[in-house]
Symmetry: C2
Subunit: 209 residues, 2 copies
Amino acid sequence: MSLLMENQFCELPPDKAIDTKTFLDTVSHIPAFFDCLGSKVFSIIKSDINGNITKIRAVYVTNPAKYTTLEDILVAEREAHGAEWPKIGATLALMWLKRGLRFIQILLQSLADGDRDENNPNLIRVNITKAYEQALKRYHGWIVQKIFNAALLAAPYRSNFLKALSKGEEVKEEDCLANMRQFLVNYTATIDAIYEMYTNLNAELDYTV
Amino acid sequence: MSLLMENQFCELPPDKAIDTKTFLDTVSHIPAFFDCLGSKVFSIIKSDINGNITKIRAVYVTNPAKYTTLEDILVAEREAHGAEWPKIGATLALMWLKRGLRFIQILLQSLADGDRDENNPNLIRVNITKAYEQALKRYHGWIVQKIFNAALLAAPYRSNFLKALSKGEEVKEEDCLANMRQFLVNYTATIDAIYEMYTNLNAELDYTV
Ligand SMILES: CCCCCCCCCCCCC/C=C/[C@@H](O)[C@H](CO[C@@H]1O[C@H](CO)[C@H](O)[C@H](OS(=O)(=O)O)[C@H]1O)NC(=O)CCCCCCCCCCC
Ligand SMILES: CCCCCCCCCCCCC/C=C/[C@@H](O)[C@H](CO[C@@H]1O[C@H](CO)[C@H](O)[C@H](OS(=O)(=O)O)[C@H]1O)NC(=O)CCCCCCCCCCC
């Protein structure tokens, strides 16, 4: 489980404020996750998520002192952009990034929980579909949903996916799942806090692409 | 037909050498073409093509005097990279870029030639499919081909596409097609010359994604 374990998210402080620099440094390892899916089809998604991270970082570096926490960025952009906000800037990038992160979270959680298709125990389509339905589907029009269904056919076998997450090392499945559960603790708390922030600031949009 | 007419390709010299700087400046307007397809589904493709151009430009700017023509780049990379070439660097980026350019060329040519589905005269699916089959299909595995078929459903109506190419101006269809034919002259010659160069240098690959 090296890929995830080597890049664990930090525990949140009691006020759940997320330090921008720490977040960016940790999350920048997440796009590599899509390489574990094996097919080049997914490199498209990797670029989209990479783009989100680049956009947030670009805002952050203009004034690190001002943008110490993710909330600082959203609040500043709300001031700066008027009616265009929240469909703009790092606010928009993080809005989509959190959905991709949630997708990954639910996928890993579903694997850790042992959800599986008993007729095809070495496929992860049920887990991917669960993650897609909960994290992304409602933001996708019917054509992108069709594209998702086609892309699903490129999903790797369960065993290959777990092996890739362990960077090719032969790790026992139980150890891999235990590492996953460990990783999910702070990862899930961080994503939950970002979602909560979008709700509190009224920054969430539900248009479809 | 402003989008294309304002950014015409240059006539090639007799030796068909393509000046790198001129090519990059002209081709950098092409990704906007995908916005004319109307759906956000196509912005993914736009990024892929933008990535190709960025990659070629990144090589060019390291030494403009050395990389005066596109062929200079390929020859230098062949020297520099040994067995990894041609699946590397600007050679790889231009290999894929030329396929996207060919796709657009065949699509425009097919519209200019009046190919259409008599039962659905305001759809351009036949034209897009023709372009896809000739320029890209053989480089795509079956999953990406399925994704193409889903994406095809997001193709715009013929009338809207022609209007978007004219940047929203009400141009008579015949004028729009005449502009297209005009644009295609140097554009097609340039693409043909790039394909010829890949054949001559034995730089073409036919792996699928
Ligand atoms: C030649 C043949 C091909 C034909 C054409 C094919 C085209 C295929 C396109 C399919 C869509 C790919 C997924 C990408 C979708 C993206 O459109 C969305 C929205 O993307 C956001 O859009 C915003 C503006 O509205 C900003 O630009 C954001 O950018 S900004 O940073 O600039 O603000 C950007 O992220 N992101 C998403 O839906 C996020 C997706 C996240 C992860 C999904 C995991 C799914 C895994 C599936 C496993 C089976
Ligand atoms: C959440 C749900 C979503 C689930 C996931 C969805 C994923 C969808 C992915 C679909 C594929 C989209 C098309 C992109 C395909 C690309 O994979 C290919 C090869 O791309 C090349 O690959 C190289 C390495 O092999 C280098 O990285 C090149 O990069 S380098 O510069 O670094 O060297 C790169 O361009 N380009 C292509 O096939 C080119 C495509 C050109 C234009 C096509 C026009 C088609 C128009 C169709 C109209 C109907």
